[in-house]
């Protein structure tokens, strides 16, 4: 590794690590950020939840939206996998079903960015298994 000779050099090192550290920084205060939970149980993974999660991780970063993206267990809507729960700060969580890359893109562009509703919301009286 080269020598650090200036503030810029320091900043470069910092940027290289940004994504990784952001994950940790953001986890300190998740309530203030968009939280996306991708259901990643067997059913979800089988229906492509992993790809959806990867899509969110990469795209949110690319589009420069601060978010905490976590995986969660089966939410119980196995019929609608992959399912994703999105919480915008100050709002109630919303669960989307049948999420693929295109739907994910819509969620980001419409719901997260502008607060517009997107098709495929699963009407809720949900409680996650974990919370029981």
């Amino acid at each position: 590794m080269g020598q650090v000779k200036s503030l810029d050099d320091l900043r470069r090192i910092k940027e290289d690590l940004q994504q990784k550290m952001k994950l940790r920084e953001n986890s300190n205060d998740p309530e203030s950020l968009v939280q996306i939970k991708v259901a990643m149980a067997t059913c979800g993974i089988a229906s492509g939840a992993k790809q959806v999660m990867d899509f969110f991780v990469e795209e949110m970063d690319k589009r420069n939206i601060q978010a905490v993206i976590t995986q969660t267990g089966c939410m119980g809507y196995c019929f609608a996998e992959p399912t994703v729960e999105v919480t915008i700060p100050g709002k109630e969580p919303v669960v989307f079903g049948y999420v693929d890359a295109k739907k994910a893109d819509d969620i980001i562009e419409k719901y997260i960015k502008n607060g517009e509703l997107v098709e495929g919301i699963i009407p809720v009286n949900y409680e996650t298994i974990e919370k029981k």
């Binding site: 590794m1 020598q3 650090v4 000779k5 200036s6 503030l7 320091l10 090192i13 910092k14 290289d16 690590l17 940004q18 994504q19 990784k20 550290m21 994950l23 940790r24 953001n26 986890s27 300190n28 998740p30 259901a39 990643m40 149980a41 067997t42 999660m53 990867d54 991780v57 990469e58 970063d61 905490v68 993206i69 976590t70 995986q71 969660t72 267990g73 089966c74 298994i129 974990e130």
Partner: protein, 597 residues
């Protein structure tokens, strides 16, 4: 660089290390690799999380799941359940001792709620062996700023304005100390980091060195810039192998980056750091003793003045600061003195790290703003007294501090309040005692420590503490008199008044504060020959309750010294003179007739 979706942080502090956290880390890494998750999940060892009571700790990011007492065998379940299936491993979650509920997220643990982590900001958050992670948390920016934008005096002024005071015990203003050293004229000057942490139960310095070594290195370089020194020395206990290794790694990395060495950041400032090992003598935490030890001489203090700032290591001006103090410096430069001064009380700014120990639920390392009350620390952060017992006292300031009681619980903790109440900040040890603790024995315990750790140079400390111990021992043996308490008082006063260094000047504090706050207990020991907590064995009396005694003779037959007399079917009596208090009678009696008075 691949984008990790999850981080698994495993505590790499000494406490967790001792509970196999290294093997746990290995297992986690292997299984993650086996499952092909190495591109998504990063497993790293961090510094101490502070929650040592429940170690080893594993924290999952980003959902902040806080697993406690994790064994190497739990690695597979965490990965298969939590990382793959997204289901938390419930049996490993922390359970709130108050309401018995599982806490999923460390943010909602009482232990962390009231804390404000400045000195410990990176502990349990970054990989201490990776300089890039430190840099990503604004590391070394303060140093750049100082070297390229500020004059040494400007840096000193910032530190003076921040109100930062020495965290090693004395509480001397850090900026002023640097200023005095900077004004001492000499061809060579030294920066010394005092990492000779010696208070029983205190380990904040070790944790910082283990969890965030670069913050200390950066602060030492800044100090060097302030005073015009190119040479830093870390005096560290040889019993801190992990801290030594982390520090060595960090120094190596900093050198590779040119953050230590010649012409740092292309300026004409050069600075480098060497380690010096201490053999673990408590008194070597005293700065003159520390310096003599570094010089290869006997570790014993000398009279001040001259202060090290004027005449220190090898007779040259030396700036000595403790680890925790140093860890605060880069943040103050980055965030500004006003920010730092806004935290804390009027004369004590910022935060203080405390090592919570004793009869408290959450034993561990905490950092709170100055001015936090003992009640908040003990009940909210510490989770209250173990097993629902009654709080009796808290000893602050290590063996040199005093015992504070119920009536001090709502006193805001800062340097001056602790001193005013007969104790001191010290390096931040906090030992909590409950109703089962005998305060005379507590005082004796601390004196036992100071007698061991006195260097022997001055007579009041060398002989006086020994005599204090002997008198306390006599009292716990039931042989004390009312005059002994007066003798304790006079001797304590004289030792404080006449000792050479801080050790002797404070060592009688536990005696004086327990006499002041627990007078009744002392009186009970010497006049009634009773120890209410039952800790003083010699003062126990085994007696037989005639009402319950059926005359089975079991006690008499089992008494090893034939101290129990009584006919079969008659009431038995214990001869107190002969009794050796072994407890065999109590154990053998099936009729609850034997009890302790």
């Amino acid at each position: 660089m691949s984008k990790f979706k999850m981080h698994v942080l495993v505590c790499g502090g000494t406490g967790c290390h001792a509970s196999q956290s290294e093997l746990l880390l290995e297992n986690l890494k292997t299984i993650v690799a086996d499952k092909g998750l190495d591109n998504d999940v990063q497993v790293i060892a961090t510094g101490c999380f502070g929650f040592c009571e429940k170690g080893p700790i594993v924290k999952i990011i980003p959902d902040n799941t806080f697993y406690t007492q994790v064994t190497p065998g739990d690695a597979r379940e965490i990965i298969e359940e939590h990382l793959i299936k997204g289901r938390k491993v419930h049996r490993l979650l922390y359970v709130d001792p108050e309401n018995k509920e599982q806490v999923e997220d460390s943010k909602h643990m009482g232990f962390y709620k009231k804390q404000l982590r400045i000195a410990l900001r990176n502990c349990g958050f970054i990989d201490p062996e990776n300089i890039d992670e430190y840099i990503s948390r604004d590391g070394y920016e303060a140093l750049v700023k100082c070297l390229t934008e500020m004059k040494p005096q400007e840096v000193i002024d910032i530190l003076k304005k921040s109100g930062l005071r020495g965290r090693g015990g004395g509480g001397f203003p850090t900026g002023t100390k640097l200023e005095i050293t900077s004004k001492s004229v000499s061809d060579i000057k030294y920066v010394v980091c005092n990492a000779d942490e010696g208070d029983p139960g205190a380990f904040m310095d070790r944790s910082i060195l283990e969890g965030d070594p670069h913050s200390v290195i950066e602060a030492m370089a800044i100090s060097g810039y302030c005073i015009g020194s190119t040479k830093g020395l870390v005096y560290i206990r040889a019993e801190y192998p992990l801290a030594i290794n982390r520090l060595k790694t960090a120094i190596k990395q900093a050198r590779e980056y040119g953050l230590l060495g010649e012409n740092i950041f292309g300026t004409d400032f050069s600075f480098d750091i060497e380690l010096r090992y201490g053999a673990g003598a408590f008194v070597c935490g005293e700065e003159t003793a520390l310096i003599h030890s570094m010089e290869g001489n006997r570790g014993e203090p000398t009279f001040k003045p001259p202060f090290p700032s004027v005449e220190g290591y090898l007779g040259k001006p030396t700036n000595v600061n403790n680890v925790e103090t140093l860890a605060n410096i880069p943040v103050i430069i980055n965030q500004g003195p006003e920010w730092f001064a806004s935290i804390g009380t009027e004369k004590s700014k910022g935060t203080k790290v405390f090592a919570l120990a004793g009869k408290i639920n959450n034993v561990g390392l905490i950092e709170v703003p100055m001015g936090t009350t003992l009640r908040e620390v003990i009940y909210e952060i510490g989770g209250g007294i173990k097993d629902g017992k009654k709080f009796k006292a808290v000893q602050t300031g290590g063996p040199s501090g005093g015992c504070l009681t119920e009536k001090h619980l709502d006193t805001p903790i800062d340097y001056d309040n602790l001193l005013a109440n007969g104790s001191m900040m010290g390096s931040g040890g906090m030992i909590v005692m409950d109703e089962d603790d005998c305060m005379v024995s507590v005082a004796k315990f601390y004196l036992d420590f100071t007698v061991e750790e006195s260097c022997g140079k001055c007579s009041p400390c060398r002989i006086g503490n020994k005599r204090l111990y002997e008198i306390l021992d006599k009292i716990t043996q039931g042989k004390g008199t009312r005059e002994d308490i007066d003798r304790l008082r006079n001797l304590s006063t004289v030792i404080k008044d006449t000792s050479l260094c801080g050790l002797g000047q404070t060592s009688p504090n536990p005696v004086l504060s327990t006499i002041d706050n627990f007078w009744d207990e002392y009186i009970e020991h010497v006049t009634d020959k009773k120890c209410r907590s039952g800790q003083c064995k010699a003062l126990l009396q085994y007696v037989i309750e005639p009402e319950n005694c059926v005359g089975c003779t079991a006690c008499a037959r089992n008494c090893p010294v034939n101290a129990i007399a009584g006919e079969r079917k008659g009431i038995h009596v214990i001869d107190q003179e002969a009794c050796i208090k072994c407890g065999a009678c109590l154990e053998k009696c099936k009729f609850n007739a034997v009890f302790i008075k």
